[in-house]
């Protein structure tokens, strides 16, 4: 098959799946599952085949022309896109298969699978986009899918609220991104990504540094929203209201990584904008640390994972900001695999035990679910950075990158964050696997049959393999990105190993034995600060939400009392003038005649006098 057919099949198979499912298969959810799974499999096949075929010339189709704008719809097929495309397609297929088990009892399965297919279409189209505006469009559609999937159980008020919050906060970022994209159009006159990145005629050579800084900063605003970076990160923990497979797919592995991907996609621009990169570095570092602290104290397994996603995305951006494309993308890929794995595992727990609480899962006998526990260990190990799992290698690259281009303060911060990561990850693992006591799982449980049906087990196995082995793919990724990498000696790796070990040991001391209380319980101020998410949400509610509310109330009052009331009063005034003028009509005939004759006479006299 030629490239065109392949890419069209890859992106539009999910779209077809979506359309068929949403329009025709409402009554037959089983069929919808089959259709969507098939379409995802086709997409994966296409993506892999494209990856195997290697980079190809971009494809472009004219979408429309307006004034100076020529907008193309098309596909950019270089190493980065092809690689990430495979990752997206793979994880999506895993999640869809997993969902067959996970959502088996849901009455709205068709809608669920249709939305997953919609998401995959949008995400793949975003990944392969050749045109910056096209990227933006699918970036938005991905967000739309996220909105609907977070709010999938829309009858839960918390889910509805979480969906709204996610949409709004990412929208704030999108505004920045949109302005950035339009600025690109204004300065470059086109949206073509290869053209924008071209070293000879691209933006870097054409723009003044200040403009470039402005553009990259605005794009970064979009990334902050999408990738849940400080200060727009608070939507992501709430987004865990969605079904767990959705969290695995959208809110850890792929969609939230879109921001990082976008930065990697436009990397030459960011590389040239020093100021932007320092801003990003600061923000990402804050995010990595901040989110890690929150993950330390939360009891909800999904929230812990969500905070860790935020933190890890911060890691990736740190790497990119420090100047290493490879480190960022490497971590992007490994993170996608192990975080999806972790979520799927947590989903199995949640599905079986019907609770999100870490301690509850442990006490109910979480470790009894063998496969899941192994998956949790592999994923958690990778997240914590335990060698030789994938996360270790990608994080090592990040430390190296920061050492190169970040400055010592950031390196130290990164190590601190890595330490915290290890700590909270193993807190989670220990709470689940070595609980303080086991309360036998009562039989009144809602589930019959296997705790780990094959549809849910298979994806866990696949992703476990990936999470375990991806550490060795560094060379391939580097090759795909076309960058040189240097291999690190064991000596270089020692600090990282040390930090992880320290984290694991501390976690064992706190949670592997005794009363399972973290050291933070002894510092109540911090404990409460962390568990309240540094009060950031409250601050938003107190400031932005309230200000918007005030302004809205003020303007509403102005509309009702001022404008509308003003016009009404004006009308009433005229009516009053009407009543007044009727008084002239006194009914007294001599007054009538007098007025008339005197007026005419006076005027005639005035005119007659030559006036």
């Amino acid at each position: 098959m030629d490239t065109t057919t392949l890419i069209l099949a890859t992106t539009f198979a999910p779209f077809a799946g979506f359309v068929i499912a949403i329009l025709f298969l409402h009554r037959s959810p089983q069929l919808a599952q089959v259709v969507v799974t098939t379409s995802a499999a086709v997409a994966l096949g296409g993506a892999v085949q494209l990856w195997l075929n290697g980079p190809a010339e971009p494809l472009r189709y004219l979408w429309f022309t307006s004034g100076a704008i020529d907008l193309y719809f098309g596909f950019l097929l270089d190493g980065l896109n092809l690689m990430f495309g495979v990752a997206v397609a793979l994880i999506t297929l895993c999640v869809i298969v997993y969902s067959i088990g996970y959502m088996a009892d849901d009455p709205s399965k068709t809608r669920y699978f249709a939305l997953l297919a919609f998401f995959e279409w949008a995400m793949l189209s975003f990944v392969y986009a050749v045109d910056l505006l096209q990227s933006f469009i699918f970036w938005e559609l991905v967000g739309l899918a996220s909105f609907f999937l977070i709010g999938f159980w829309y009858q839960k008020p918390s889910a509805a609220e979480a969906a709204r919050k996610a949409f709004l906060m990412t929208r704030i970022g999108d505004v920045g991104l949109l302005i950035g994209v339009l600025l690109v159009m204004m300065t470059a006159g086109h949206f073509d990504i290869p053209g924008l990145l071209d070293p000879d005629v691209g933006l870097v050579t054409r723009l003044a540094p200040a403009t470039l800084t402005a553009i990259t900063l605005l794009i970064f605003v979009g990334i902050v929203g999408k990738s849940a970076q400080f200060p727009l990160h608070t939507w992501l923990p709430d987004a865990m209201e969605g079904p767990t497979p959705v969290s695995a797919l959208l809110h850890s592995a792929t969609m939230v990584a879109a921001g990082v991907f976008l930065m990697a996609r436009l990397y030459p621009l960011f590389l040239a904008a020093e100021t932007t990169r320092s801003v990003i570095l600061v923000v990402a570092t804050i995010t990595a640390l901040l989110a890690a602290t929150m993950a330390m104290v939360d009891r909800d397994i999904k929230k812990v994972l969500a905070y860790s996603s935020i933190s890890q995305l911060g890691f990736m951006l740190m790497a990119l900001a420090a100047g290493s494309l490879f480190a960022g993308v490497f971590h992007l890929i490994t993170h996608a695999l192990f975080k999806a794995l972790l979520f799927l595992c947590s989903g199995l727990f949640i599905h079986h035990f019907a609770t999100n609480d870490l301690e509850q899962i442990g006490r109910s006998g979480g470790r009894g679910m063998r496969l899941t526990t192994i998956g949790l260990l592999i994923g958690g190990g990778a997240l914590a950075g335990v060698p030789p799992l994938s996360g270790f290698f990608s994080k090592e690259e990040i430390f190296a990158a920061l050492g190169h281009g970040g400055g010592s303060a950031f390196t130290i911060a990164a190590f601190a964050a890595a330490f915290l990561t290890a700590y909270y990850t193993f807190r989670m693992i220990f709470l689940v696997t070595v609980p303080d006591r086991i309360e036998p799982h009562t039989a009144d449980d809602h589930h019959e049959g296997s705790a780990e049906p094959w549809t849910m087990a298979l994806p866990v196995v696949v992703l476990s393999l990936g999470a375990a082995l991806a550490g060795g793919w560094g060379d391939k990724i580097a090759a795909a990105l076309g960058v040189e990498i240097s291999h690190h000696s064991i000596g270089d790796m020692l600090p990282a190993i040390g930090v992880v070990a320290a984290g694991v040991v501390l976690a064992w001391l706190d949670f592997g034995r005794g009363d399972r209380a973290g050291f933070l319980t002894r510092i109540p101020a911090l404990q409460s600060l962390f568990s309240n998410g540094w009060h950031i949400d409250e601050i938003y509610r107190a400031v932005f939400v309230r200000i918007t509310g005030w302004v809205a109330t003020l303007l509403h009052g102005m509309e009702v009392k001022g404008l509308d009331g003003g016009f009404d009063r004006f009308g009433v005034g005229i009516l009053g003038a009407g009543s007044g003028s009727r008084r002239v009509q006194s009914g007294w005939v001599q007054f009538y005649g007098g007025c008339a004759v005197v007026v005419v006479g006076a005027i005639a006299f005035y005119v007659g006098m030559g006036g």
Partner: protein
Amino acid sequence: MTLEMYLLLSAVLFSLGLFAALSQRNLIAVLIGVELMMNAASLNFMAFNRFSVTDPATGQVFVLIIIGLAAAEVAIFLSIILNLYRQRHTIDAESITELRR
């Protein structure tokens, strides 16, 4: 007497008639006032006819017709007042103000 004097006289007559028509409460008096106004016009016609117009007949004919029409007018007006008086028992202009506003 010059033309100006006649014109002045007629103006005075007109004003008096107008004043009567506006100030007298009795509708008959109002009618008389209006007749005075018309007479002022007649006086003008005659004066102009006498002093400044070559054709001697027009003004006089006009005045004669005015007199005739004024008589008709009086007849009509009186009958209307009579009609009113029968019902209202008043011909006081200031009290006939049921139709107003």
